[in-house]
Symmetry: D2
């Protein structure tokens, strides 16, 4: 539903790149969960612009304010509204885009849909829109940490263009990922990835890649049969992120090369726990978590806005060319990592609450 | 939401593999749309078991009955209930599965979630569940054909294991696809694909592949920003299908190898219509259709149930082995084609109705 | 949402008065709840036509069939589909209504909305539509009896026209209500109410009244602030019933005659339990149950279809007259009692599941 | 759903009486609807405290800020966030209420539900919560005025305690209602109603009454059969307002005294328009508007917080007494008038959009 998401832990995000600000309202958060602005700010800082030399230089502190739903550092059970003001808006950089569509961006489709468009900074199609998601997910993580303390969500850059990281999903930690500005889980690839991004940006070009995400400590039984399978929910959540082009779980597309005999994950008892000896299922079977780590990958295309002249058309219907201006990431991957984690946290929190409602024992 | 789907064109599916039957209730279908049981039956016949030598031999005519919502062959605007009885149920074939979990199937996770499971034929996790989807989509197609007569949805088998078809999305037709039992769009690959499936089945094994789907004639402007992007909705819908492991739109995962300069789709005027000269976007930009063909691929894993002994555990918590019984597809791809089309039709119908509500002119 | 209802315990009803049948699909029912067709049939029998001399003589056994979601007399957690076939349909009795609108019925408005209408028996606007609700509520009651064994829902006829029953909400029981065919809780009023209904029917006329409902044993804390207040949910549920014109909780409209000093319910401790010494709030404060009995009243208008000629217009736009035919209740109140209970059970079941999801301790 | 409301025109309200502020996010508003802060402010001024001598003296300008979704005074189709800061908060007035429950207020039930409560000013249970509704409805009215220019929503005080106004729903205008501070439609009752409120307030007491609302110019066909009947939606919306105890449509509870012969509304042609010669249906038949004026009444109880000592209990479980402090309306009716109109506008806007989606011609 447009800018609303979730069934029990429901969020409603709002805001354009240029305007009063961006934010989110969370309805359905359980009461008495510890919550402070600092807890939200920590995650916003991971996604904010200007955090390193390889991301967009737009200078936004992205300072959040909790407007409601919290009393003496605890949630009230009522809606939690979070506001982040836009500060460093520069609409003048976008004036040419008021009358020309950026190729592979949302400019034309917004006009086709609405007959109107806030051309300043991409409006609602700006990556700035994800602030509301990250803020809401920071709250979801507090709920998760109370319900499933052992749960760990770790996303990392798996590849940038042809540069592929080697990462062990069983052990990779958020600290390892946060220790480098490109947010890969493979120390050996950090320098080459940074060099690639810098070279591409110097050339006025852009580049994409793949984010991989592992969730360890998921209890078995999350996810609903049929339409709200846990993997379906994750796929929908990931493809709702800007610049995404694909999603795969476990063995993914490569798994289509195997036969059933090689692809199936055998069950074995591990003490009194049912485990699988391989995890091509990616932790989800029949749409429901099986207790093994959930593992999935998300493809991010190269950033659409580039500093090179490209063929396009004007809003008046004439062929023309456009060269990007404004401040943009030449590669969204490093900033995509916390956003992928955020959507994962929102899905898991919602499904945990659903499961609590339905399981009578 | 579990077994409910859609916002305006809302469906509620029900039914297990073995039991009274399967079906769907459609709420929100516009009135005065022509509808007969024959229109639904046509699509059910494309997905039914026993339709060819390469699919499961379970003998189900899957005859549908419209129980409500239709009067003198027109929809009433009230809920349309469709019922298909189960006929050829053989619970005895599943008795061993009552106490042993099939690897990579939903047996264990259903038990983990619900503490109970209809072990006969896989219950709700059976592909038989998709009958309700296909029946509902047959109705959605009638709505679509009234609102967008030029719309064409064509899915086809793109690959089976390493056998890859060469298909032109611009021209491939449903008739071409339906002309061969494997439902590929490439005549040159028909025989080898059939041979592969037969060989794999003879070996008590199974195999997967990729279904590609193209939608031509989509009006620009469908899809909602942020969470209900058209590609997000499609990704969620496709991953809700049994045995799926991945989804990609347009350039997909391969697109991460390109730079922005090579990946972006330039705009050019085509008369008074805005077109792109390439379609790496796959017909969707910023989550909204741009009028170019929508093109996506879905990965289907090899069927979990195979006729070979595999390691597993019992419901009592002991290591054991299990060899599949019952009647199963050694390759779900041929029957997946109409199901992928069905989910696509449901998504497009819903988004068309949404757009009608929101567009004031 | 048209024919769908509930957030976690979600039902989707379907069916017209004349056609294949009527029924419901329940999605979101917890697993391992005991359920048999007999449990549902018991409640269907309380609302079925032909059950006594003062209700419509249409001869329908209303025999239900559970098509899915139950295995060995326990719910599976998957959708429960219930089907009741229409048997004693007499479309010929309605032929005049195909071209003339019954005053104060839904004939004209269905045509205005849909441009089409199943004129046989009132189609979806028939009271027959409530079968799906009653069947779903029978399931909800099984869930309630597991979660809150002490919960009692008792509805009864409070008045028929000017005949008003004296009933003590604290003690009235379902058995008392079921002991008389008019379903009032006041033995002294049974005969006069029955006489009134029979006299009115003999005169080709109809009559309305008020159903009162008490719910004892409700745990405090059910209901959501703001839009989904428990009383708002009950009001919406009751006004969704055919022929209803009003809803009031506790002191209701009469409470507007009191001042705050006389209207407020003082709190007093009763052991370690917080109680109120009066209950003008009707068991709900700020939209949330306070543990006192929930008490509300629903106004039902006189049946619209009467056996007397009335002014009306034709579908062709001409003034004309129409005299009712077909089989109708001259007074819906006795059959409304189980339906009011049913909607109450659906609301309470849904809110109990919601509260389980949100309450972390 | 707690603090979310609407299906296509969806709002998410937030905010407590004391805290950062209150507001709303509107998702699903069509694009290119004229919108300025002044349009919203006009309605907020009608509901704000301190507007006259008979309402609460809390000094809040309730100045709104549109944070998103509007560009150059037109809606963008994206979420519209509206913020109103709390200014004149006086938490000290509520300190006693931190440990004692106000009778017939939401204090106890919030504690029972959440185990925590913002006791300052009633938190989310404050009438201040309705600011988000009124702001959203101001936007809905802009949509309505584009889609149905002739539509008029007029609410007015029908009675205060036993003082009943005589108002003609066919002609009463917003200007007439706004011409007096008590907001009744009967000039002859203005003085006595004001005197009653002032006398009651001087006595430290409170009083309730009835608001009546008429909607003229409603197109036939709005409302959905079964659960989302237009009257069911209105009933649910009205009972979601603070202090409401009852709802009745058209003839309401009094209609139960009539027989069908006297109660039915005969149809007659009026030119080519189908009309009824009476309107006991209140403009809605079978849950769908019939084109006649919609007419309903809402009962508001006397304000719970009074300046008189009352029996109550403490949060610690001891019997005690409490005398109200803080600033409160001795009678909520004058301020309830714009709020009843607001909920009506939200319902009608949502159903108009729904009808546009479903009606293919």
């Amino acid at each position: 539903m447009a800018s609303q998401f979730g069934q029990l832990f429901r969020i409603s995000t709002w805001g354009e790149s240029h305007g009063g600000g961006v934010g989110v309202v969370i309805d359905g958060c359980p009461a008495r969960v510890p919550l402070t602005e600092a807890m939200i700010q920590k995650d916003l800082d991971r996604r904010r612009p200007g955090q390193s030399k390889i991301v967009t230089p737009r200078a936004e502190a992205d300072q959040c304010e909790i407007l409601s739903g919290v009393f003496e550092d605890q949630t009230l059970g009522t809606p939690i509204a979070v506001l982040v003001r836009n500060k460093d808006a520069r609409p003048s950089a976008y004036e040419e885009m008021a009358v020309k569509y950026r190729p592979s961006h949302a400019d034309y489709t917004y006009d086709a849909k609405y007959g109107i468009r806030n051309w300043q900074g991409g409006g609602r199609a700006s990556a700035r829109e994800t602030i509301g998601r990250v803020a809401a997910a920071a709250v979801a993580k507090q709920v998760l940490s109370r319900l499933v303390p052992a749960l760990e969500i770790v996303a990392y850059v798996k590849s940038i263009q042809d540069l592929e990281a080697t990462v062990d999903p069983a052990t990779v930690s958020v600290d390892q990922v946060e220790s480098n500005i490109v947010r890969t889980g493979d120390p050996a690839m950090v320098d080459s990835m940074i060099e690639r991004i810098e070279a591409i940006r110097s050339d006025g070009n852009s580049v994409g890649g793949v984010v991989e995400c592992v969730v360890r400590g998921v209890p078995p039984g999350l996810g609903e049969p049929v339409f709200d399978k846990l993997d379906a929910a994750l796929a929908g959540a990931m493809l709702s992120l800007p610049a995404t082009k694909g999603f795969e779980l476990g063995s993914g597309f490569a798994g289509t090369q195997l036969t059933g005999r090689d692809h199936n994950d055998p069950f074995r008892m591990d003490g009194d726990r049912v485990r699988t000896t391989s995890n091509r299922s990616g932790g989800i079977q029949g749409g429901i978590s099986n207790g093994e780590p959930i593992l999935f990958r998300v493809a991010f295309k190269p950033t659409a806005t580039i500093m090179t002249p490209q063929d396009t058309v004007s809003t008046g219907g004439e062929d023309t060319t456009l060269k990007g201006r404004g401040r943009h990431d030449a590669c969204v991957l490093p900033r995509a990592v916390p956003i992928v984690e955020a959507m994962t946290a929102l899905i898991l929190c919602d499904h945990l609450l659903l499961q609590r409602a339905q399981r009578l024992d």
